[in-house]
């Protein structure tokens, strides 16, 4: 069966956050931040392990990372980890059936109860708090 015949959207479906509302946007952001954090985590291990090669190498590594570019990456990491953690807790509770509403007789226009205000507010809050955390970290790292 060729690809066209199968008609699966493929990876494009993951990469488009603009369809199906804020919950799908959160799904997209969770992926991006998860992968971003993983990349940072690996780089971070590499960076800090350089201390095993002696003081000189460690100081050279600091010269490389304690720079405006390095601080910008840290600002992003702080934003990513704030969103990923708060939204991650929402998802884990949801996976346990908590906060996803109660089953009842469907009534037109059938607004899905699993996409309730609690979940939406939690997504907005995790984005808002991530933005605040980034602002604060900018102040700490780039302020006077």
């Amino acid at each position: 069966m060729n690809k066209q015949h199968n008609n699966r959207i493929g990876i494009k479906a993951w990469l488009n956050p603009w369809r199906y509302g804020i919950e799908r946007f959160a799904y997209w952001l969770m992926r991006i931040t998860g992968v971003g954090l993983l990349v940072y985590f690996i780089m971070h291990i590499y960076e800090t392990s350089s201390i095993l090669d002696g003081k000189e190498i460690w100081n050279k590594m600091l010269d490389l990372t304690q720079t405006p570019e390095g601080h910008l990456i840290l600002v992003l990491v702080i934003g990513m980890s704030t969103f990923h953690t708060i939204n991650g807790i929402r998802i884990m509770l949801g996976h346990g059936g908590i906060g996803v509403g109660k089953a009842s007789r469907p009534d037109y226009p059938y607004a899905p109860k699993s996409q309730n205000m609690k979940n939406k507010l939690c997504i907005y809050a995790s984005i808002g708090l991530a933005a605040l955390a980034m602002l604060y970290s900018v102040e700490v790292m780039f302020g006077e």
Binding site: I11, K12, A26, Y27, G97, V100, A103
Partner: protein, 262 residues
């Protein structure tokens, strides 16, 4: 024949209703044509459609089929969101053609494509074989050792109180249209994923207190391409035309496996 005298007041009503009916509107339909046995690529064919404000997308497609292009392949039956046959992508969103009014779309062009994540049979008709097979695999029926018919052929009903019905009636609303599977991001890449339709039906029976098949079903869904591939993106619930809210059913089902309920 006796003349029917319309009450003056009613006459006014009739007139004002008539005034509300606007002249025919015009709109462009861009419809996918594709025969996998012949064509290598999908193509869009344009059709100008005249419609009244009460017409659905299905009405327009049938007008095209009857008057312009009899070769247009589509599936439909009930025309009232009950049979689950007429799912398709309408302006990029999985929707039932019979449940979508052209007016409500609020666009000048209506793009019609076959439902994504399903193999195309021809044009807008897609193949449900995999979805139905998965649905069957999850045992969508009451499982228990006794039967409603006893050995002496007496029929005794498995009784149930109204509160118990409320626990599953939402999920029993599913018409197997497949829109949820079409919107699901996991379905888009994992050809073996069970999908929201089937998983939700597993929960429909697990949540029915006449059923004793919970452990059997939990064992079936607890596998590589089973329930764990759901990331709670919720797009299934967004497009479901019957208020089934598959995302809710799937999370409730998963909560058994995670030990949140027993």
């Amino acid at each position: 024949m006796a003349a029917i005298k319309i009450h003056e007041e009613n006459d006014q009503n009739v007139k004002s209703i008539a005034a509300d009916i606007k002249p025919k509107n015009k709109i462009l339909f861009k419809i996918t044509k594709f025969n996998p046995h012949v064509d290598t690529h999908m193509k869009y064919v344009d059709y100008d459609v005249e419609y009244e404000h009460w017409n659905t997308v299905l009405d327009a497609l049938l007008m095209i089929k009857h008057k312009v292009d009899p070769s247009l392949a589509l599936r439909y039956s009930c025309r009232q969101a009950s049979c689950g046959s007429c799912g398709m992508m309408i302006n990029d969103k999985p929707s039932l053609a019979c449940f979508t009014k052209i007016n409500e779309l609020g666009s000048d062009v209506v793009k019609i494509e076959p439902m994504s994540n399903f193999p195309i049979l021809r044009d807008l008709a897609v193949d449900f074989t995999q979805m139905f097979n998965t649905h069957k695999k999850l045992k969508p029926y009451i499982i228990r050792s006794d039967s409603e018919i006893s050995q002496s052929n007496e029929i005794k009903e498995f009784s149930q109180d109204p509160d118990s019905v409320e626990k599953y009636i939402q999920f029993a609303n599913c018409i197997k249209c497949g829109l949820c599977n079409s919107a699901c991001p996991t379905m888009a890449t994992d050809s073996s994923f069970m999908g929201p339709q089937a998983l939700t039906q597993a929960y429909r029976y697990v949540s029915d207190d006449r059923d004793k098949g919970k452990n059997t079903r939990l064992k079936i869904i607890d596998e590589r391409h089973g329930i764990w591939r759901c990331h709670f993106a919720g797009s299934c619930s967004k497009v479901c035309p019957k208020g089934v809210d598959p995302a809710m059913g799937i999370q409730f089902l998963r909560s058994y496996l995670l030990g949140f309920r027993d």
